[in-house]
């Protein structure tokens, strides 16, 4: 599904140039659950942003579903992104002014799903995430675990092929964290490819494969059994 080759990304300030990704090559197959680990500043988030088409690489190739996207325009990337990729953030990034239902509905609005279909799909996914009873609440009224469920619901409502999760349990206690990991595992079992950045060895154990980064390079891959 994903094939990156010799991917490079630099950050420049006036005086220093930081190499975030250094000729990184990775391949991820459809249906995989991959964890990316590494110390702070190793390039995990940069990689995730590029994979999520939120950012573009400075050099190298990124093939997504057989399509070279490395030098796509923002508009094309956005288009590809909203149909194929769902995001889960550490800080949930729910919109405070919208209810649970409306937050989850948002991606469907942007992909032009008709209203009646939207209601059906949102309800379906809220049900699956067991937060149907909270549908009319605002994010501030929910616990962290519930907020992350809403965020996951929002990420999957469009039935994306790929979910990118950036420390999805980072702001949660261990019990809520485990629930979230179970949810992701279920999604993966139903066929969704998942790439997750994490600091937690515990969370990483849910994945099929761990890619360890250091200084923008892949230093080790563990295959989980």
């Amino acid at each position: 599904m994903i094939k990156i080759t010799n991917l490079e990304k630099f950050y420049r300030t006036e005086e220093v140039e930081t190499i975030a990704l250094n000729k990184l090559s990775i391949e991820i197959a459809t249906g995989e659950f991959v964890a990316i680990m590494g110390p702070s500043g190793c390039g995990k988030s940069t990689l995730l942003n590029i994979l999520g088409m939120l950012d573009d690489p400075d050099a190298g190739s990124y093939v997504f579903n057989e399509i070279e996207v490395a030098h796509f325009t923002e508009r094309k990337r956005a288009d590809l992104r909203k149909h194929n990729i769902g995001f889960v953030f550490q800080s949930f990034n729910l919109i405070d002014e919208l209810t649970v239902f409306e937050n989850v509905e948002l991606p469907l609005i942007y992909t032009g799903v008709p209203s009646s279909e939207r209601v059906k799909r949102v309800e379906e996914v809220l049900d699956k995430m067991q937060i149907m009873h909270r549908r009319n609440h605002y994010p501030q009224q929910l616990s962290g675990g519930q907020q992350q469920r809403v965020a996951i619901a929002r990420a999957v409502v469009n039935k994306p092929k790929l979910i990118l999760a950036d420390e999805p349990t980072g702001n949660l206690d261990s019990s809520n964290g485990n629930d979230v990991m179970e949810l992701l595992t279920d999604l993966n079992e139903q066929g969704t490819t998942i790439i997750m950045v994490t600091h937690s060895e515990h969370d990483a154990r849910y994945s099929h494969r761990i890619i360890r980064l250091l200084d923008g390079q892949s230093v080790m891959e563990n295959i989980m059994v």
């Binding site: 950012d55 995001f87 942007y110």
Partner: protein, 810 residues
């Protein structure tokens, strides 16, 4: 989708109640003020529009230049109206009005003093649109001693409007038959009378004199385009009709008259221009000036701009808080246009709410404003026809303008930057915001300086030595009511304790009595050297009663039998005549009529009185010639008493004993003086109100910005405090940025205000102040002070907060 925008907008506004309130309040205040000013301006611009034939009505004016005198008249010769109608087929009709001054109208046993009386030709109701409730407009003013009155007047005298055929007794000697009742004349009319007496009642109206001007004359043209044709034909008309009389009286032809540098011309003023563009001698009432219309329009635009700037500033400042939302939406696939639409919806919603509030606030404040501006403005269904669409336009325009910055700026961000929080630093670099704050405060400081200048000028007028003393002078009007008893009244009043002196004449520096005559410095009566001064009739006590100063020579004296051939002139007249030592020189007064030796009277100059201001301080003192003659217009009484009420009642008793049926009518000279500057005073008050509002709105914005700045720098403040910064250091740090902007505003606004106040306002006064440096300094200090108070409120709040809380926030 729209529903989604509105929903989100509403919730976002509700979530930030403070900002929303400041935004809406500031904008609503600005819009309300603006709306009031627009109503005022529209009112000023719509004078005389009640006339259905307005575009075809013109007033005929006369411009006279005689020697060194130049007079612009709003009045013309008595026979002009009928001549125009007879000579020019495209003149459909013509009408004359003549202000009849004050008369007494009997009601029961009492005489009521009325001063809104005019003589009018029968054609009045054909030219002007004055709907008649009762009576026949075509014939109402044909017969002598017929009178048409307004509805209110009819009710006042008869308690009914069905009064055609009833009579009114004027001045105890003239019985007038009511032949018509008209609707009250709109306040937006350049003339406003309660009584129209038929011109036929006034014998002078049949005069055939072509060299005098005292009738307000209007023509109704068949087609407005004929106005040019009519104006072009005036020189010929004058030659034909005035020529012979000029030959007889001045011994010269009109050509020779023009060749000598003098002229005698006529022109037209469209009815639409009279209220705002005409300020001639002989107007039927005080007109407005475009100056105030311009000044107030400018203020309205300024205030609206300040309010918009607030709105923009607060929206953009807050927009970085919205950045995360934008980022999330973009990650989820929102196209840019959706985000733009969302921000615009939000700002249009705010504008809409503010506009609705503004409309009601304006409607609520309208009576107060009417009182302040001496207007009678009402919001009618008719005015709503233009108010509502313009308000809607404002909603969309201001809403889009104010929302455009966050809409286009924020929506252009890369979601990754937004989510990483790269925008948080956006506030400090808010160059646009700094510019807008400077803009706002420049306007505020400009208005402060403007207000100070207007008040200084008013104060100057109040305290200027006018050449006479207007304090402690009681004026009893209409002494002519006492007939031959007037002199006895004067003697008796003079004998009362507390009365210093009295003088009997209607010609007072504060009154509207004016009379001009032609004088010549030598017997040749060369009109090139003629003088056209005020020609006043005074008595021996005039100069001393009014505390005027003689510069040379003496005033009139009872001991000198020959003083009736003497005159006292003012310094301006002495200068005009060009005499080095004017006392005992002889000057010659034209008596009108033919240019023969009998038609001139010689006067010798007894003395020169120091110039005194008798018209507005807008004009220089012009020449005045004062003759000794009996004039029973008014009795001025200089009093010196601590018990004025007692003295007043004694004077009233004396009046009553002589004239029990006529009510005494009195006033005080200083009040009459103040009344003539009421427009300026009113302008000053309106200016203060608007300036305060402008500053208030600007401060609201600054308050919001300061709150935001403090919020943005919460973490920095926390760290600084942990490292040992004290409260004053932090307040200073937070206030510094804003104070700097106010300083820049002072530098920009001061020279502009100095320039424009000189050019727009002070230039209108012949006697005016110089704008002092301290005015500029005071305005600057005031602005700094206000800004500092506003900002420091927020700064102090931020500075005394517990740093632990602010650091934990992260």
């Amino acid at each position: 989708m729209i529903r989604n925008y509105i929903k989100t907008a509403f919730r976002s506004l509700r979530k930030n109640k403070g900002f929303t309130a400041i935004n809406i309040l500031g904008l609503a205040l600005g819009l309300a003020t603006c709306l009031l000013i627009v109503l005022y301006v529209v009112d000023e611009l719509s004078y005389d529009r009640y006339n259905t034939k307005i575009n075809r009505i013109y007033r005929v004016n006369e411009d006279l230049k005689l020697g060194g005198n130049n007079v612009l008249y709003a009045v013309c010769m008595p026979p002009l109206a009928k001549t125009l109608k007879a000579e020019y087929p495209y003149v459909e009709n013509a009408v004359r009005l003549k202000n009849a001054g004050t008369s007494h109208v009997k009601k029961g046993n009492f005489n009521i003093s009325e001063n809104r009386i005019a003589f009018a030709d029968p054609s009045l109701f054909d030219v002007f649109t004055l709907p008649m409730i009762n009576g026949n407009p075509a014939s109402a003013l044909v017969e002598p001693n017929s009178v048409v009155i307004t509805e209110t007047t009819a009710k006042k005298y008869f308690n009914s409007t069905n009064v055609v055929g009833k009579t009114l007794l004027l001045n105890d000697n003239t019985l007038c038959k009511v032949t018509g009742v008209i609707k009250d004349i709109s306040k937006q009319s350049h003339f406003n009378f309660d009584f129209f007496i038929s011109m036929a009642s006034f014998p002078d109206s049949r005069s055939n004199e072509w060299l005098r001007s005292d009738y307000n004359t209007y023509v109704l043209l068949k087609d407005p385009s004929d106005a040019k044709k009519l104006e072009a034909s005036f020189p010929e008309l004058l030659k034909k009709f005035s020529g012979a009389q000029m030959q007889a009286q001045l011994n010269m032809s009109i050509d020779a008259f023009e060749k000598s540098g003098s002229f005698f011309r006529m022109n037209l003023t469209p009815l639409t221009d009279i209220h705002l563009h005409s300020n001639r001698s002989g107007e039927l009432g005080p007109n407005g000036t475009t100056q105030y219309v311009y000044i107030f329009s400018a203020i309205a635009i300024f205030i609206l701009l300040i309010a918009c700037v607030n709105f923009m500033n607060l929206s953009t400042a807050r927009s970085s808080n919205r950045a995360r939302e934008v980022g999330v939406r973009k990650v989820l696939g929102s196209p840019r246009k959706y985000l733009i639409a969302q921000f615009l919806t939000e700002s249009i919603l705010v504008t809409l709410i503010a506009t609705v509030i503004a409309f009601f606030v304006a409607a609520l404040l309208l009576p107060l404003f009417n009182h302040l501006a001496d207007k009678d403005i009402v919001i009618t269904a008719q005015s709503l026809v233009w108010i509502v669409p313009s308000l809607l336009f404002i909603v969309v325009f201001i809403g889009s303008l104010s929302g455009s910055y966050p809409a286009f700026y924020l929506s252009a961000f890369q979601p990754i930057d937004v989510l990483k929080g790269k925008l948080a630093a956006g506030f400090k670099g808010g160059r646009l915001r700094s510019f807008l704050v400077v803009f706002q405060f420049s306007i505020s400081i400009f208005l402060i300086i403007g207000t100070l200048v207007i008040y200084n000028q008013l104060n100057y007028i109040q305290t200027k030595n006018l050449g006479y003393n207007r304090n402690q002078v009681l004026i009893v009007q209409n002494i002519f009511e006492l007939n031959n008893q007037a002199k006895i009244f004067k003697q008796e009043v003079k004998g009362l304790p507390g009365v210093v002196n009295t003088t009997m004449t209607g010609f007072l520096p504060t009154s509207n009595w004016k009379n001009t005559a032609i004088y010549f410095p030598d017997a040749s009566r060369d009109q090139k050297r003629s003088m056209f001064p005020q020609n006043w009739e005074i008595d021996e006590d005039y100069i001393s009663t009014l505390d005027m100063k003689m510069v040379s020579g003496r005033s009139f004296s009872r001991d000198m039998a020959t003083d009736s051939d003497g005159i006292v002139i003012n310094e301006a007249a002495a200068k005009f005549l060009g005499f080095k030592d004017p006392v005992n020189k002889t000057i010659y007064k034209s008596l009108g009529g033919n240019h023969t030796a009998d038609n001139v009277k010689q006067y010798h100059i007894l003395g020169v009185v120091k110039d005194f201001n008798f018209s507005s301080l807008r004009q220089n003192v012009s020449p005045v010639v004062m003759r000794l003659a009996e004039n029973n217009g008014a009795l001025s009484i200089r009093v010196n008493t601590t018990n004025l009420p007692a003295l007043l009642s004694q004077i009233k008793d004396k009046w009553k004993s002589i004239s029990p049926n006529v009510q005494i009518d009195y006033s005080f000279m200083d009040q009459e003086f103040d009344a003539s500057y009421r427009t300026e005073q009113r302008t000053g008050q309106i200016f203060i109100v608007f300036t305060s509002l402008a500053i208030l709105i600007a401060c609201l914005g600054l308050f919001g910005l300061a709150a935001y700045a403090a919020e943005q720098r919460t973490k920095e403040i926390g760290i600084r405090k942990v490292l040992g910064a004290n409260v004053s250091a932090i307040v200073g740090m937070l206030s510094k940025d804003f104070i700097k902007l106010v300083f820049i505003s002072i530098l920009i606004a001061s020279p502009l205000a100095w320039f424009f106040m000189n050019k727009w306002f002070l230039q209108d006064f012949a006697y005016r102040i110089n704008i002092q440096w301290w005015v500029l300094v005071l305005a600057g200090v005031a602005a700094l002070f206000i800004a500092f108070i506003t900002v420091s409120f927020q700064s102090i709040k931020a500075a005394i907060a517990n740093p632990v809380d602010s650091l934990k926030n992260e």
